[in-house]
């Protein structure tokens, strides 16, 4: 697989504190290295506040990282100012979580779809654009198109609006779409069909997806042949092929996260406690040099307060010092991973 986008050493600090208080910067992303391959699906999973949405906005260019390099197909995105991003970065598009907020409430669906195509295809006639919009509507499965195009966002259901967002995102023929929790506000019975639609766009159009979510179950569904990156307090803790990570989670945080996900089968119930030392999420402000998960980690040792590097096994990279120890302790307790 050829790499499509590479993120190197991305750091993001937000300035906090106002006029009178002392300036403090919050380090929300720390040393993120990530490669997104052509046509692949990467699931970015983590709890709220782990920086996954910030990372998504950096990929789409809405935020400029404090440090680091972004390159799309070898072409560097000058990160100092968004304006300077080369136009090729139009190939990176964004699907937001709240489909109602993502569409202008006073513009019809047609207007919302028409404007971007018009802007970037100035030579097209209206008819060409209309044909394109028709194709998009067929692709996303809203038929007959005319019935939806004349409507305003509030006249559509959440699932339909989310489909419109997908149509808008693919209207500029992107190579990569960042989807930020696209189904979390959608009814359960419709989620699957939307995820299927995304898989279909991925397969038919070869569009790579970065699927940002806190829900591991949907991440597993959409990125079953893709990759999973687990984030915690601004760092990628574990990253590798989805099936490998899920069948054998190595990082203590990934282990806890997988245990916490409820399984829709009462026979799989267990009253087992999560392998965590503390349930409280430690603040992002007061983390030190070392592993951000250390304060909650049951396997923590003194070394964990020093900076950690990735360990790579079976194509999975893990940011943990005590992997062997964790492995040994878990093997000793025969509870098995979730199979």
């Amino acid at each position: 697989m050829n790499s499509l986008m590479t993120l190197e050493h991305i750091n993001m600090r937000f300035q906090k504190g106002g006029f009178f208080s002392k300036d403090r910067s919050v380090h929300v992303l720390k040393d993120i290295d990530l490669t997104i391959g052509e046509g692949e699906i990467l699931a970015l999973v983590g709890e709220s506040g782990c920086g996954k949405t910030t990372l998504g906005k950096i990929i789409t260019g809405l935020y400029v990282p404090t440090e680091g390099q972004i390159a799309l197909q070898g072409e560097s995105g000058e990160t100092i100012k968004r304006k300077k991003r080369p136009l090729s970065f139009l190939q990176v598009q964004f699907i937001q979580q709240d489909s109602y907020a993502a569409l202008n409430p006073v513009r019809t669906i047609y207007q919302s779809l028409y404007a971007p195509i018009r802007m970037h295809n100035p030579k097209w006639s209206k008819k060409q654009i209309d044909t394109k919009i028709d194709e998009l509507m067929t692709l996303i499965g809203l038929q007959p198109a005319a019935q939806f195009l004349s409507k305003y966002p509030h006249q559509l259901s959440g699932g339909q609006r989310q489909r419109i967002l997908m149509a808008r995102a693919i209207s500029l023929d992107p190579k990569l779409i960042v989807a930020d929790e696209p189904v979390s506000m959608i009814d359960v019975s419709l989620r699957l069909s939307l995820l299927n639609l995304m898989s279909e766009l991925n397969e038919r159009l070869g569009i790579a997806f970065v699927y940002i979510t806190h829900d591991l179950s949907t991440a597993r569904y959409i990125a079953r042949r893709g990759r999973l990156a687990v984030m915690y307090l601004g760092e990628i803790m574990e990253e590798g092929a989805m099936d490998v990570v899920l069948s054998h989670p190595r990082h203590p945080y990934t282990r806890a996260l997988l245990k916490a996900v409820p399984v829709p089968d009462p026979d799989a119930r267990s009253d087992e406690k999560l392998p965590l030392k503390s349930m409280e999420l430690s603040g992002i402000e007061d983390r030190g040099e070392g592993c951000p998960f250390a304060p909650r980690c049951p396997y923590m040792t003194e070394q964990c307060e020093r900076p950690v590097d990735y360990v790579v096994t079976e194509g999975v990279r893990i940011k943990c010092r005590n992997l062997e120890e964790v492995e040994r302790l878990n093997a000793a307790r025969p509870e098995g991973t979730d199979e």
């Binding site: 789409t60 260019g61 809405l62 968004r82 136009l87 139009l90 990176v92 598009q93 964004f94 937001q96 709240d98 907020a101 993502a102 569409l103 202008n104 409430p105 006073v106 513009r107 019809t108 207007q111 919302s112 404007a115 971007p116 018009r118 802007m119 970037h120 100035p122 030579k123 006639s125 209206k126 808008r168 500029l172």
Partner: protein
């Protein structure tokens, strides 16, 4: 900006066709919007009543003088007549009919109010949008200016402006009145724009590389248009009070039938004189009814357009 260029660069000569069809669809959309606005307007009792009152005054200003022409000739034998069928509001100190004076002054009062509203809203909205969307140094300069204007009380400034320049037409008076009234609107429009700037549908425009022109004109402006309209009515309301005040103080005495001028004459004769009561009350009554109309309309529109107040 680049939208214009895009039209020009079309080599197939389809430029006009495309332009017309786009204009056509814009007009159709505008027509729909206006029709919807009226349907909504009449579904709200307050707004409907306010609208009717204002329409009544507009009609009065246009057709009133034709039906009840105002005769300026003085007739001292008819001074200070009490109200009667012939003179519904009585006569003034020179024997002229007050009712007809009032009607003849309506047009002037409304013109001043309308122009003031227009200038205030145009300047305030434009600066507000620029300030809120572009930000940075432009924002700082505009807001600095607006803050200066807001901290200096407006009425003395009206008085000073009116004294410095001889005011002889509604437009000039409107300019003097709007000079100090745009700042408040500018600040509130800026606040609105800034809240919209963080909204998802504006952010996605940046990802899709839409032009600033498109974002401001097509995405932002339609969202604040109702807010601007309500503020237009508020500006009109303030302009009436302001202009009548200036007129009453005799600072822009170019039209003797203006309601403010009528009040000024009543004041000159002496407000304790019971004979001037009709001359005093008639313009006050007219102002009051018109203000009630604007209050009803703006409140009603607020109810229609503000989803939080919207019933059902």
């Amino acid at each position: 900006m680049s939208e214009k260029q895009s039209v020009r660069s079309d080599p197939n000569g389809g430029k006009w066709g495309d332009f017309l069809s786009r204009a056509g669809s814009t007009f159709a959309a505008l027509g729909r919007t206006i029709k919807n606005a009226f349907v909504k307007l009449f579904s709200n009792g307050q707004a409907c009543a306010g609208f009717c009152i204002i329409i009544f005054f507009i009609l009065l200003a246009i057709f009133g003088p034709m039906i009840f022409p105002y005769d300026v000739t003085t007739n001292f034998s008819m001074r200070f007549l009490p109200p009667s069928w012939e003179h519904p509001f009585g006569t003034d100190e020179m024997g002229r009919d007050i009712f007809r004076q009032l009607i003849s002054g309506t047009s002037n009062v409304l013109q001043i109010a309308f122009y003031t509203g227009l200038i205030t809203v145009a300047v305030g909205t434009l600066l507000g949008i620029i300030s809120g969307y572009i930000g940075g140094i432009v924002d700082k300069v505009i807001q600095g200016l607006a803050n200066i204007v807001l901290t200096i009380p407006s009425f003395p400034v009206f008085l000073m402006l009116a004294a410095l320049f001889t005011i002889e037409s509604p437009i000039e008076l409107a300019l003097a009145l709007s000079a100090w009234s745009w700042a408040g609107l500018c600040r509130s429009v800026r606040a609105q724009v800034m809240s919209f700037r963080e909204r998802d549908f504006i952010q996605i425009c940046a990802v899709m590389r839409m032009s600033k022109f498109h974002i401001i004109v097509k995405e932002l402006f339609p969202n604040i248009i109702s807010y601007v309209l309500i503020n237009f009515i508020v500006a009109v309301r303030n302009a009436i009070t302001g202009s009548v005040g200036i007129m009453m103080l005799g600072l822009a005495a170019y039209d003797p039938t203006n309601w403010g001028s009528m009040l000024e004459r009543a004041r000159n004769i002496g407000l304790v004189n019971p004979k001037v009561i009709p001359l005093l009350l008639a313009p006050l009554l007219a102002i009051m009814v018109f203000q009630i109309g604007t209050v009803l309309l703006s409140n009603g529109m607020d109810e229609i357009m503000n989803p939080r107040l919207r019933v059902n």
